[in-house]
Symmetry: C2
């Protein structure tokens, strides 16, 4: 697995986006997260590792359990990247879209 994680690459996977969605509601243990998906616990463990490596999830060890919480500040990079192009779809359509919609 790659050493340095990128948040854009982390959210590319739908399972990982779903994990973030779950953790937005509440902190969950790794196994509880895994219960929500149709895949093995080690698979979720791997996804969780990717999410922690880019700062989207923080894991707190509590006994034998791993309590996973989302850390949304890492999403700012994504939000800002998308937002820089916002004027292209907000006030007006870009010229090409205008052409296509005619």
């Amino acid at each position: 697995m790659k050493a340095r994680r990128d948040v854009f690459q982390a959210i590319a996977d739908p399972t990982r986006r779903a994990i973030i969605g779950l953790l937005a509601k509440e902190t969950l243990t790794l196994n509880t997260v895994a219960d929500n998906f149709n895949m093995s616990q080690p698979a979720i463990s791997k996804h969780m590792r990717i999410l922690t490596e880019c700062g989207l999830v923080v894991i707190v060890k509590q006994g034998r359990e791993r309590h996973c919480s989302a850390s949304f500040s890492a999403l700012q990079e994504v939000a800002q990247w998308a937002a820089q192009y916002r004027h292209f779809w907000s006030n007006r359509l870009d010229t090409l879209e205008q052409l296509l919609n005619e």
Copy 2:
């Protein structure tokens, strides 16, 4: 290559994000785009195909040239997905809001 394209997966690659950045300034032919990167023309052709498949780029054939323009409405999905978690990092909301209101 996968049949159905996902915008999250499309923007996961830094080269493709850079292409979007270029096309935000102006419409460019495929070769002109390729000139901006240290990779072959077929490589850019492939990236462009992924970008068109998820609606982020529209290509207009003009003679032997392919005029590529960004179509940013596909980014709304990304912006909205990130925005739903915005209140979690709202202490820095002012910065993002400034950006959005530009």
